[in-house]
Amino acid sequence: MKIFLLYILVLLAILLGVYLYRVLQGPTIFDRVLGLNGISTKAIILLIVMGIYFERVDMFVDISTGYALLNLVGALAVAKYLERKGVP
């Protein structure tokens, strides 16, 4: 089971790399924002899998809750900014 979880972790890191490609390359700014949202969802899942791997889920779940809430604040701020100022 532990090896299986490790494979999942590595696979999730590769998926993070895929989204990072979208953030780095994305033709418009909205592609970057979208990639960032994908990264944060993936990071939340990755943290919980990490918690299962270390058998300390109680600590890691708290961070992922904080991630989720902060991600909301950050993404809404970005969307508000882009709506008000237009595409740079």
Binding site: M1, F4, I8, L11, L12, L15, V18, Y19, Y21, R22, T28, F30, D31, V33, L34, G35, N37, G38, T41, K42, I44, I45, I48, V49, I52, V57, D58, V61, D62, S64, T65, A68, L69, N71, L72, A75, L76, V78, A79, K80, L82, E83, G86, V87
Partner: protein, 99 residues
């Protein structure tokens, strides 16, 4: 229980990988947002339920389900905000050239 959780996790991974392929392949912001929402809804659900089953009953399972509920509340809001900003800033959705 163990096997059930592995099945859930593998199914979730399938949807995550499909969404990543979609984020690379699809042509513009609007259609990519569909791929991201695919991960956010079904992929995350299957992954987290699989992990919660693996952990067994208890407060940890409950906390993981709380994170899942938060994801389900937050993600549509973020996707909608991004897409609305894209539409209002004058981006045109991609159309097939042949039509």
């Amino acid at each position: 229980m163990e096997i059930l959780s592995i099945i859930f996790i593998v199914a979730g991974l399938f949807f995550l990988i499909v969404a990543a392929i979609g984020v690379i392949r699809l042509p513009d912001v609007f259609s990519r947002s569909h791929a991201v929402s695919l991960t956010d809804s079904l992929g995350a659900f299957l992954m987290l339920v699989g992990i919660a089953l693996h952990g067994g009953l208890g407060t940890n399972m409950l906390k993981i389900l709380v994170v899942l509920a938060l994801l389900y509340i937050i993600n549509p809001v973020i996707t909608h905000a991004t897409v609305r900003a894209a539409l209002r800033s004058g981006l045109k959705p991609w159309k097939k050239e042949t039509s």
